[in-house]
């Protein structure tokens, strides 16, 4: 956090915000329960509603409680988390793919190419995650100052390694 974010006024503002977010999270939980008790929903719909509310709550926690809102310029956190979530999404995608590949009555047969693509994705995702993380960590990144583009110098630095 930069210095302006340490001022007493800002902390007072933050504290108010924390109470507000706490209220939002409790309300979100109550809404989830009420929706589940009151409405009869199919599994798919229940999943969409329940997980949407959870996602909303989660983004409040990350943005305010974990003060990501004021940290997000920092490339380290953002990229680490984005890549992790891409990895996670890939994992879920693979599962869906595997599930879609099981032949069942009343379902069209899936072309052979899909499972092959799925396994490729399963290899590429973690690999790219690892490569990008290493690249990112080995690259000095100016945070507060404006980045000065020096493509030649950078290439030379990476060659050395």
């Amino acid at each position: 956090m930069s210095d302006s974010h340490d001022s007493p006024n800002f902390i007072q503002y933050l504290i108010k915000l924390f109470y507000l977010v706490g209220g939002v999270l409790v309300a979100g939980t109550l809404i989830t329960v009420i929706i589940d008790v009151v409405f009869e929903m199919s599994l798919g719909l229940a999943a969409i509603v329940g997980l949407s509310i959870a996602l909303l709550k989660a983004s409040f926690v990350v943005a305010i409680f974990m003060h990501y809102k004021w940290d997000k310029k920092l490339i380290m956190i953002t990229w680490t988390m984005i890549l992790t979530f891409i990895f996670f999404a890939g994992m879920m995608g693979l599962i869906m793919w595997a599930e879609g590949d099981i032949p069942r009555w009343g379902r069209e047969e899936v072309p052979v190419v899909w499972p092959v693509l799925a396994s490729l994705l399963g290899l590429i995702l973690p690999a790219s995650f690892a490569v990008l993380t290493i690249k990112m960590l080995s690259q000095p990144t100016a945070v507060e100052a404006e980045p000065v583009p020096k493509p030649k110098a950078k290439r030379a630095a990476s060659k050395k390694k």
């Binding site: 939980t29 997980l51 988390m81 994992m91």
Partner: protein
């Protein structure tokens, strides 16, 4: 040793080291829990229609616990905000003026409440809760009639037209009493006959069960008989006699010697535990032993961990448990402000499977205990770190370098929010989907 960049951001990363470390750790945690979440999804989606054990969770308790964890998450960030203002401690009497220490203890209290609810209610209440499946659907039907057709509470409903046979009357009963409709067939709408179809399938595959508690049972009283003794087991005659005497026979008239040489009844009508212990000791010292059931005694109990294998354990050709007094969940009435559950007697000979809601019960409980257990371990670890930070040894850092301590608390807060975050997703997945 001076650790660099505990306060000032490192120029290349733009973060102090602790913060970068915790974010990388959280990234690895996302992958750990991500793997478990996706396993859950795979198992959930792959489960055959109507077999996922939903509705077994107490959603009110779950929601309450969720809010306790949310509160703790808010308290931990308030504690950090107080530190940022330089306020270590305030008066306990006015929460408006609480300092870091007060908010931190409040966080610890919430975390402890969360674990206590898990440890003393949510998990153990499932260990004493049973599902029983029957070998024959006709027996199931009789048991349902016995258990639900009482006090004029059950009356026939016109759900699926004419009563064709026992199967359909049972199906109607199930629907009417919402025993299984609510629980297993939630995803089916009744207009399209979905429940009907699912019920037929469940009937045909024998996957319908009754759920409730075991109030008591008839357990075998066992005769322990000695049938012979081998002197080549490395135990001398006097030692073998001593073992016999230790098992409670009288020392007169060479009873031990006669038992050793000719065999005979060692003890009659003893409980299972005593008989098994005697069998173990005797076998170890070269005796051959025969256990047989002398009779069955009713036992009042609230047992943990009964399973099909244990109730049917073979003792001289008879089962260890003859019958179970089973209090049905869904059949109850109020009397003097107390809820009474209808109790039926189930012969263990009719039981195909008996299992409490432990991991072995179903895939759902397998993954349920894995995920909630790992999450609870995180909460427990968090409590230990918080307590360390509150102890003088932890607070010494504050007196040495305020900013370093504040950063340490911020770092812990990030971990704690992540634990909260995991639970925010776990709650709808485990309790609602």
């Amino acid at each position: 040793m001076e650790i660099p960049y505990t306060v000032k951001p490192r120029p290349d990363t733009g973060l102090y080291n602790g913060k970068l470390g915790i974010w990388l750790f959280l990234a690895s945690e996302v992958m750990l829990f991500g793997a478990l979440f996706s396993s859950y999804v795979l198992l959930r989606v792959g489960a055959a229609d109507g077999t996922w054990s939903m509705g077994l969770m107490d959603i009110v308790v779950g929601a309450g616990n969720t809010m306790v964890l949310i509160a703790s998450s808010m308290f931990v960030v308030l504690a950090w905000a107080q530190l940022k203002q330089g306020k270590l401690s305030g008066p306990w009497s006015s929460p408006r003026n609480w300092g870091y220490i007060q908010w931190k203890w409040a966080t610890v209290a919430c975390a402890v409440i969360f674990l206590i609810v898990k440890w003393s209610y949510e998990w153990p209440s499932k260990f004493v809760h049973y599902d029983v499946w029957f070998k024959n659907s006709a027996v199931l039907h009789d048991k349902v009639e016995e258990g639900y057709h009482h006090d004029g509470e059950y009356h026939k409903a016109e759900l699926w037209g004419e009563e064709k046979d026992k199967k359909f009357s049972l199906a109607r009963l199930y629907v009417e009493k919402e025993i299984y409709v609510e629980r297993f067939f939630k995803t089916y709408s009744e207009e399209d006959g979905g429940s009907h179809k699912a019920f037929n399938k469940a009937w045909d595959t024998g996957s319908l069960a009754l759920s409730g508690h075991i109030n008591g049972y008839e357990e075998a009283q066992i005769n322990v008989e000695v049938t012979g003794w081998k002197p080549d087991a490395g135990v001398s005659e006097s030692e073998a006699d001593k073992i016999l005497l230790g098992l409670g026979i009288s020392g007169e008239d060479d009873v031990a010697k006669r038992l050793r040489s000719q065999g005979g009844l060692l003890r009659g009508n003893v409980s299972y535990d005593v008989a098994k212990r005697a069998e173990y000791k005797l076998t170890k010292s070269g005796f051959s032993v025969a256990l047989s059931v002398a009779g069955y005694e009713p036992v009042e109990a609230h047992p943990y961990f009964w399973r099909t294998g244990r109730i049917n354990e073979d003792i001289g050709g008879k089962p260890r448990v003859k019958s179970i007094r089973f209090a049905l969940d869904a059949s109850h009435h109020e009397e003097n402000g107390e809820t009474h559950h209808k109790e039926i007697t189930i012969n263990t000979a009719d039981v195909k499977r008996l299992n409490s809601y432990e991991p072995k019960h179903s895939t759902f409980f397998g993954i349920y205990y894995t995920i909630t257990g790992l999450h609870a371990a995180h909460v427990f670890g968090g409590i230990i770190v918080m307590l360390y930070n509150l102890l003088p040894i932890g607070l010494a850092t504050w007196h040495r370098d305020r900013e370093q301590y504040t950063n340490r608390i911020e770092t812990f807060g990030l971990f704690w929010h992540f634990v909260d975050l995991v639970w925010i997703f776990l709650f709808p997945i485990l309790y609602i989907l």
